[in-house]
């Protein structure tokens, strides 16, 4: 119940930067409630988790309620998305994403109606459900890992495992500087978190449960201990030493159980499963209250006058929460995530998504531009700091020289991009940037290669098929010719139209057929109204006519190429 005297394990490397966590924990978790703060438009990206992009299941103009599903999971490795409040779907279009590329992705744009009207929420009885039903339910509730990786949670809550798992770890370590969303969540909503943990434990059949919290969060530890004491289940709050990145899933598993989960293996292979505290809460809300994941806690910190945590609806433009914290005028960058692993945002209109744990405002004062890069002197600081026990200096060399095979041999993909190596590098080398570059280049090449291989296979099969068809055809023709010759001998007078084997005749016939088809198609286009257009709303008809206009344009352009008399 309370922290027992049990030995913890250690992971190599790690760093101890300044944490800057106090500023944003002075105020309680806020909500954008003032009329000026409430967003009038929510931009809800469909792709918010690892895996397939959900398909939109609402139409433009449709009224939706808070919690209504608007995007259906695409396959099992995917997660549904929901309307975060009630309102009208005003567009389904490409909008800029909270992604360093600044590229757009398909979003459902919701015009809020201010009523914040929930769908009918009904708790889910997981005890009566089959494991598959639990998975489907959580997938449709859009529950994903809220620690930042947004891995669909239902894939990790595997209930049909024989005998359950050994250890369920709840990650409340929150090791990255500035971020305090999990800290505040544990302080304020410890009971709900614990309820979610108990649910997860029941689903997973975990023998023991450890809630890991870094020792720089005494209030959260105390709150969680009280909640754990009240719940009546034998959960344990484990206080882990503060060191970045102790909150990385693999590192926390290592610290608490001593198990190292290598790259390419899942923790479940080692009988351990790890979830973030916010995910636990989301599970409680989904199963216990029947509410899908439509909001999350976001820390706003850095170059703001009043850093604070907010409970934010998914899809809220980040400028709304930034404005609530009085940003300082010298702000020069917006970062989603923390200062170690965060990514720069292309603008302040991008929405809060399920992965947004923190919006960090930067200035040249807080995050000074890096000193000029010096050559690597192989001092080995990076290797000492690497929590994945890699040799970052070798990876740097290979990535920089674009020797990707070697980089992979030196375990490039074991790198968790925690940034410790860049942090300690006396030569100010942006090491992680080199690894990011090398990784995305390797991925792209592998994808290209697999596409090329597929194209080759398909081409070769086609050639094989052509040859086979040719052989079969000539065999058939020979047989037919023989039959025809036999028939001729029998009845010389009434000659049946024997298929002419000469290619030119065949081609002529075909051309005539095509010409007739073109004529028919033209006629149809002019006269027919498809049956499925009879019961549509005015907007839909308008949209269709717009599309028709575009098509007409294309047809105009295509006309000179059409055969004149067809």
């Amino acid at each position: 119940m309370t922290t027992p005297l049990r030995s913890l394990f250690d992971f190599n490397g790690g760093v101890k930067p300044d944490y800057h966590k106090d500023a944003s924990t002075r105020l309680s978790i806020g909500v954008l409630s003032a009329p000026t703060e409430v967003p009038t438009e929510l931009v809800i990206p469909l792709h918010q988790s690892i895996g397939g992009t959900p398909r939109p299941i609402v139409a433009v103009g449709e009224q939706v309620k808070k919690g209504q599903r608007i995007g259906d999971a695409d396959g099992d490795v995917s997660s549904a998305v929901h309307a975060s409040t009630s309102g009208t779907v005003s567009a389904i279009e490409m909008r800029r994403m909270p992604h360093p590329s600044g590229l757009s992705s398909l979003c459902v744009v919701l015009e809020t109606d201010g009523r914040d009207e929930w769908i009918a929420c009904q708790a889910f009885d997981h005890k009566l459900a089959t494991p598959q039903e639990i998975r489907d339910y959580l997938r449709d509730c859009g529950v994903v890992g809220l620690g930042g990786a947004v891995f669909p949670t239902h894939l990790k809550l595997n209930a049909d495992r024989q005998g359950g798992i050994e250890t369920l770890i709840i990650n409340g370590a929150e090791c990255e500087p500035y971020i305090t969303c999990d800290d505040m969540l544990m302080r304020e909503r410890a009971n709900d978190i614990v309820r979610g943990v108990v649910l997860m434990r029941e689903i997973l059949g975990a023998k023991q449960v450890r809630i890991g919290i870094e020792d720089n969060k005494p209030e959260a530890i105390a709150a969680m201990q009280v909640a754990v004491g009240d719940c009546g289940d034998d959960l344990q709050v484990v206080v882990v030493p503060t060191r970045y990145p102790a909150g990385g899933a693999k590192q926390l598993i290592r610290v608490i159980t001593g198990i190292e989960v290598p790259h390419g293996k899942r923790s479940i292979d080692y009988d351990v499963q790890c979830f973030n505290v916010a995910t636990a809460l989301a599970i409680y809300e989904a199963i216990g209250l029947g509410r899908p994941l439509i909001s999350r806690i976001v820390t706003v910190a850095g170059n703001v006058d009043a850093p604070r945590n907010f409970d934010v609806l998914i899809g809220t433009p980040i400028k709304k929460i930034i404005a609530a914290c009085s940003p300082l005028p010298d702000t020069n960058r917006l970062i989603m995530g923390g200062p170690m692993m965060g990514v720069e945002m292309p603008g302040d209109e991008v929405p809060v998504v399920k992965a947004t744990n923190c919006i960090l405002l930067g200035s040249n004062k807080i995050f000074p531009p890096p000193a000029p890069e010096m050559p690597c002197i192989r001092c080995g600081e990076c290797a000492l700091a690497c929590p994945a026990d890699l040799q970052p200096l070798e990876l740097y060399w290979f990535s920089r020289a674009k020797i990707f095979g070697k980089a992979q041999e030196y375990h490039l993909f074991d790198c968790i991009e925690c940034g410790c190596c860049s942090y300690v590098c006396p030569s100010n080398i942006p090491l992680v940037d080199y690894y990011r570059f090398a990784k995305s280049e390797i991925w792209a090449r592998e994808k290209e290669k697999s596409l090329a291989d597929e194209a080759r296979d398909r081409f070769e099969f086609r050639q094989f098929r052509d040859v086979r068809d040719e052989q079969e055809k000539s065999a058939r023709l020979a047989a037919r010719a023989a039959a025809a010759a036999a028939a001729k001998q029998l009845a010389t007078t009434d000659t049946v139209a024997i298929p002419n084997t000469e290619a030119s005749t065949e081609a002529n016939e075909k051309a005539a057929l095509i010409a007739a088809a073109i004529a028919r198609a033209r006629e149809q286009q002019v006269t027919a109204t498809p049956q499925n257009m009879q019961q549509l709303s005015a907007e839909q008809l308008a949209e269709i006519s717009a599309i028709e206009a575009r098509r007409a344009e294309i047809r105009e352009q295509a006309k000179p190429h059409l055969p004149p008399d067809a």
């Binding site: 693999k250 790259h263 002197i377 000492l384 942006p430």
Partner: protein
Amino acid sequence: MAHNSPYLTKASSVQSVMLRVVLALIPGIVAYVWFFGPAVLIQLGLASFTAIAAEALVLKLRKRPIWRFVSDGSALVTAWLIALSFPPLGPWWLIVVGTLVAIIVAKHLYGGLGQNPFNPAMVAFALMIVAYPLLMSRWPNVATSINFQQACELIFGASTMDAITSATPLDTLRTALHGADASTTIQTVLAKTPRLGHGWDWIAGGYLLGGLYLLQQRIITWHLPTAFLLSMALLAGVSNQLDPAHFNGVAFELLSGGTLLAAFFIVTDPVSSCTTPRGKLIFAAGVGLMTWVIRHFGGYPDGIAFAVLLMNVAAPLIDMYTQPPVFGQKSDMKPKHD
């Protein structure tokens, strides 16, 4: 350049690393001056000036940012290591040529900071001892104290130094042991020169102090100096046990010559040595072995320079074969399920 995460950096730079190395050399230099007079200070000045001038010149020729690289302090470290490993009363051009070789040939022709496969200071030492063996083995006699003026005269060629120089303890021993008289033993030599080695052990102590500071500052790790000193001690201990008449004892071996300077400042050069923990152990033990072999069986009194250069060649290969297991790949980690 787009600046991506991490946005936080630790306050450290190549410059601060290099300056702390320079700082760590000071106790040794103080002891050096105490026992052998201020001559070494002149050599330090000569080497520093030459190194920085050469560095700036080459950077200009290579069209690199001059100030950024001159101020990184790496040339200064090389210069000081050269000054401390060259004989203090050698003529001025000896150290100037040595430093030029180190900076221009050993460092910049290979690509400059971070790119040199060989330790520049040791390249300079090895080249000069091959080219000028006599000048490179004349060391001041402990008994004579030399003041600043005398030192200037000697270094800048106004007088000769035969009267006040002698060989180092290592040199004395090897000359005696390899002399015509086969009956000479270490003991007979030591009986003749009772103060042999005096002063050198204090300088070694100074280097040790500096080395401990570097360890405390986490600029070097324990692997390199420990493996180097242990391998030397082990070899000296065993050989001395087997043949005390011809092989030095552990203390003598560790305190004489540049053993401790090498242990903490030369073997630990990050650029040209190994970087993996096991690699460092192998590298340094290899330097220790080679040094001992050259000291006792080779043609030169002290073999550290050659030993370091030989192991420099092997360093990339050692690194390649000693990559530590990455997270989760230690042998005791087996999944319970697959």
